[in-house]
């Protein structure tokens, strides 16, 4: 029994309960939220150190043995995702606390904490049904966060978001029912062994069904259409954490499924085709947009393609590239949206036609955007370059030249979009300026908002600086993923 595994789930849930009790005490709520997420982050760092030394750790909740009880497992991949994910959650939370003058903050804190617990549970769970529950916890919290405020636009977009995700959840239940009916277990470690005894056709059917389920959550082609519609309507801090984390939970599940449950990999070509289409459609969709948030939302989709590319290659270097790319994407995407929050706070709009010349008003935000955007586009020496280099070299090893060419072209498209945002927001002048810009008065930005954005951009720079050791960890994680025997042994004791 290793308590470290349960802390990232239990502590945020406990803090959420206390935050509901303290609903009339905003300061107490803020302290509770930050303390809860910080504790979870500290526990996951400790877990990463332990797993790095001693290999995968597992614990049976309630002390019931593996196939009956609920299993929590942490291997290197889990721990890396937890640490980077929770660090991003913490930075966005500090940003949200700094963003004063909001009527719904008392509801925001408990729900945000529940979402944190759900994300941590999705990473840590060792059981297919529990993964469904974790998804539901995360999604239910996200439904509330995306519609918080109940504005017309939010309700419209929130409806699409809720319906499409509910449909995905029901498909997940169907997949679980089929898996249970054919194998008699929902435990990942047991499934690894029992799924191999099924007929190949049945196995492919199950794999494809699960791929559709996780694909909707991860917003891969052709299941991405809900994302650019729903994400921009939420508050910026909420969009930041969704953009950084929620789609990556789907990617995490795809990586887990492809390596642990269906390691004989019959979907490789399909995944490569999906990867190419996801990248291209995402980047093309961004071109026609006029709103910073929407441009960046389409880029979430396009970047998911790179992760799927790494999974599709299905070599140690490919998976390692995908893992590194996910780790780099989480803080980069979130920090880009935090910069959007700074822009919105200062100028009162995120439409490129309504704002301009912000480099003179908020120079620090401009610098932060530039670093994060160049990292997203993959310009050396930033973290995006390392991730793309790893994927490209893995692609050359696997002789997948077409997809490599596409991925490089898409990088150029990404750079184009980032330059477009830069020109529209920070350079030039506004076509139809908002009142804030027209008056020329500089709006005071709360220190916490700036500080948390700086910290998150700092994290992406740190990933670039520490790229050597981090990539080494990713390679070890990938080797572990491709050889599930240590994982299975940790669970079955």
């Amino acid at each position: 029994m290793n308590a470290l595994l349960a802390i990232p789930i239990v502590i945020p849930l406990l803090a959420a309960a206390l935050a509901v009790i303290a609903i009339r005490l905003p300061t107490v709520q803020r302290v509770l939220s930050i303390a809860g997420v910080a504790t979870a982050l500290a526990a996951s760092v400790a877990l990463l150190i332990e797993v790095e030394r001693n290999g995968p750790q597992a614990t049976q909740v309630g002390g019931w043995p593996a196939p009956i009880g609920i299993t929590l497992v942490a291997d290197l991949f889990t721990c890396l995702m937890l640490v980077i994910g929770l660090a991003t959650v913490l930075a966005v939370l500090v940003f949200a606390v700094g963003q004063r003058g909001d009527d719904h903050e008392s509801a925001f804190h408990p729900v945000y904490l529940v979402m944190t617990a759900g994300v941590a549970l999705s990473f840590l769970t060792g059981d297919l049904f529990n993964l469904f529950v974790a998804f539901e916890i995360t999604l239910t919290a996200s439904y509330v966060l995306i519609t918080l405020g109940g504005a017309k636009e939010q309700v419209r977009a929130g409806m699409t978001y809720v319906v499409i995700n509910l449909l995905a959840s029901f498909l997940f239940v169907v997949a679980i029912a089929f898996v249970y009916a054919s194998t008699g277990t929902v435990n990942f470690a047991d499934l690894t062994e029992r799924l191999t005894t099924l007929s190949p056709n049945l196995r492919t059917a199950l794999a494809l069904l699960l791929l559709v389920v996780f694909g909707i959550k991860a917003a891969i082609f052709p299941l991405f259409f809900w994302l650019p519609d729903a994400y921009p309507t939420a508050r910026t801090s909420v969009t930041a954490v969704f953009a950084g984390l929620l789609t990556k939970v789907g990617v995490y599940a795809i990586i887990r499924m492809e390596t642990l449950l269906f390691p004989d990999n019959r979907q490789s070509t399909l995944l490569l085709v999906i990867a190419g289409l996801t990248m291209v459609i995402g980047v093309l969709g961004a071109i026609a947009q006029d709103d910073m948030k929407r441009i960046l939302s389409f880029h979430i989709v396009s970047q998911i393609g790179y992760m799927i590319l790494g999974i599709g290659l299905f070599t140690v270097s490919g998976i390692a590239g995908a893992v590194f790319f996910v780790l780099h994407q989480i803080p980069v995407k979130a920090s880009l949206f935090l910069v959007v929050g700074l822009v919105e706070h200062d100028a009162g709009s995120t439409k490129l036609s309504k704002i301009g010349g912000l480099v003179r008003r908020i120079p620090l935000a401009a610098v932060l955007f530039l670093v994060a955007a160049l990292s997203l586009a993959g310009i050396p020496p930033l973290s995006g370059f390392v991730g793309k280099l790893a994927l490209v070299s893995a692609g050359f090893d696997a002789q997948a030249y077409a997809i490599i060419a596409i991925s490089l072209l898409v990088s150029v498209g990404t750079l184009f979009s980032m330059v477009k945002i830069w020109n529209g927001v920070f350079w030039g002048t506004a076509e139809e300026p908002t009142p804030a810009i027209a008056s020329g008065e500089v709006v005071h930005t709360p220190a916490l908002m700036t500080l948390s954005t700086v910290a998150l951009v700092g994290l992406t720079v740190a990933i670039a600086i520490g790229a050597g050791p981090i990539y080494e960890l990713c390679e070890r994680a990938a080797a572990e993923l491709l050889d599930p025997s240590t994982y299975v042994r940790a669970v079955q004791g």
């Binding site: 539901e136 017309k152 419209r156 409806m159 809720v162 959840s169």
Partner: protein, 148 residues
């Protein structure tokens, strides 16, 4: 396995899919409810053939029905219930705001459709969308923009 539960699941999914494809929010919610129940029933069916005793057999063979799928179904039922309630609240809020039960188009999507110069006449209430776009643009309809 008896054919009846399997048929019921099929009918629930078919009817639910049909309802979800409608443009009225209440029908979509009813569809979600049907599909949800279909999925939960499928979980119960996955336990295997019916007719085994719930706990201990009278004949002393010790065989009993598999409890795990029932526990899973119970969890899934609760989740479906909660989310249907949330969806109803959301639909009610939507009705409060728009006095309309229809799913609306994305204004930004319409703006882009308009940029192409091929505004689809089949979209419902095109005049409403035009007003929305004018609101967003502060008065200037996007038709006057450079069509490039």
């Amino acid at each position: 396995m008896s054919i009846l539960p399997a048929l019921t699941v099929a009918v629930l999914f078919a009817a639910g899919t049909y309802l979800i494809l409608q443009r009225t929010l209440t029908r979509i919610i009813l569809g979600i409810g049907l599909i949800g129940n279909g999925a939960n029933l499928l979980l119960v069916v996955s336990a295997g053939p019916p007719g085994r005793p719930p706990l201990i057999a009278d004949d002393g063979t010790g065989g009993f029905a598999d409890p795990l799928p029932q526990a899973l179904a119970l969890t899934a039922v609760v989740i479906t219930f909660g989310l249907t309630a949330f969806l109803l609240a959301l639909a009610y809020r939507s009705w409060q705001l728009t006095h309309d039960d229809e799913v609306e188009d994305d204004v930004e999507d319409r703006r882009i459709a308009k940029l192409r110069g091929e505004f689809d006449p089949d979209l419902d209430e095109p005049m409403d969308a035009l007003e929305d776009i004018q609101d967003l643009d502060g008065g200037d309809p996007p038709t006057e923009r450079d069509p490039r």
